[in-house]
């Protein structure tokens, strides 16, 4: 990984995600700190990234690196944790049944990902699907159901839906720019995660595999006959 990517691109991209992940334009207090459960989910996401090899912490912080390089690596890891927390915060609805359902959905999905231990490419694909589906749920479906604008018919339907669900589904209305901002933030997060230093398993594992293979093969070459 080039120093520019490690020292400039990754910290700035991940910190930008951490900044915009909690931003809700139009509110009296526009920057929302993450709830505790977002921290739990972020720890699970971080662990999944490490287990899958999408992130190799030893390539960011290691005895063999200089202090400055280690400081850069530490900043990347802290920024990644902050960004992961805020992405979870961004994708979670703010109240009611959707909040509980999405939290449970993300918890089970991440737990499943941890247990399944996918490789880097599969984890990135899975992360893209999780982020995309949670984005559509919050910023398209729930936002549409909670939108106070629109014609009389739509408002009547929304009011009926709200009454039928005892107000457990409807969310506070979002501003128009919130969805675009969330989309940009999620894309930036996925790009940054894809750009993290990956584990070089091939280099580490191949000599061991070679050694094991040599031991398991019959002496002086073997044949199937």
């Amino acid at each position: 990984m080039s120093p520019r990517r490690e020292a400039v691109f990754l910290p700035l991209a991940l910190l930008t995600v951490a900044l915009f992940g909690g931003l809700e334009p139009g509110r009296a207090a526009p920057f929302t700190a993450p709830p505790l459960f977002a921290l739990v989910l972020a720890v699970m996401l971080f662990a999944a990234l490490v287990r899958s090899g999408a992130l190799a912490p030893e390539r960011l912080v290691h005895d063999s690196r200089t202090s400055l390089a280690n400081a850069n690596g530490a900043v990347v890891m802290l920024a990644l944790f902050g960004a992961s927390t805020q992405v979870v915060n961004l994708l979670t609805p703010r109240s009611g049944l959707p909040l509980v359902a999405v939290n449970a959905f993300l918890f089970v999905l991440l737990l499943n990902t941890l247990v399944a231990a996918p490789d880097r490419v599969r984890l990135l694909r899975s992360l893209m699907v999780i982020c995309g589906s949670a984005f559509v749920l919050k910023f398209v479906i729930l936002a549409g159901l909670s939108d106070p604008e629109g014609g009389r018919t739509k408002r009547v339907l929304v009011a009926l839906f709200d009454a039928a669900t005892l107000g457990t589904i409807a969310q506070d209305p979002l501003t128009d720019i919130a969805g675009y901002l969330a989309f940009f933030t999620i894309v930036l997060y996925l790009v940054a995660v894809a750009a993290l230093p990956r584990a070089t398993y091939a280099l580490a594992v191949t000599p061991r595999l070679n050694a094991q293979l040599t031991q398991s093969l019959p002496p002086e070459g073997g044949s199937h006959r």
Partner: protein, 202 residues
Amino acid sequence: MSPESVVPSSESDELDPNSCDPRPAARTPSSVVKGRVREQVVRGAGLVVALVYAAMIVWAYARQPRTIAQVTGGLSATIGAYRVEPRSYADGLQFFRRDQFVEARAAFARADPAERDAQTQFYIAYSYYREGWGRLYSTDALFAKGLESANKAIALAPGGRLVVDDPDLQMHSADELKAELQRGLERDLSDLNPMRLFRTRK
């Protein structure tokens, strides 16, 4: 080979998994030194920029700025470079003394777009008080906004103490103004006292 041994000893020696050419590039000693210096500069600059950016993010979450003006004003106030625009401030004072409170607040908002000046916030709070004051009852919405501005003024004043030497005012400190606004928002039996009709606006 242990797993640790595959960790590159330095960035310049790192293996590029995307590279098709396994041979290291031929470099002269001076270009190697230049490359290392450049790498240290990039790393140092990146670290400083990332730390400053992180500090800005923490500041934004702590201060909750709502507009770009509040962001820039807040950051310039942090380094002591924020100034109130004097002409708009003078306009605001003139409007305030003529009891044109809406106009006064517009001028004060222009003078202090980042809401970082305690005295300007004090006058904004006072304008809400005077506009919302009534002999029979006060307007709660205006008093609530006034209380918000008074709290802001107290938070911005050094040590929380703000005294304004203006002979046109009857309340000179932000604490008095805040208490008066709070009293106006309370509901109790004294609201039914007929002597309230004889009280005066401060």
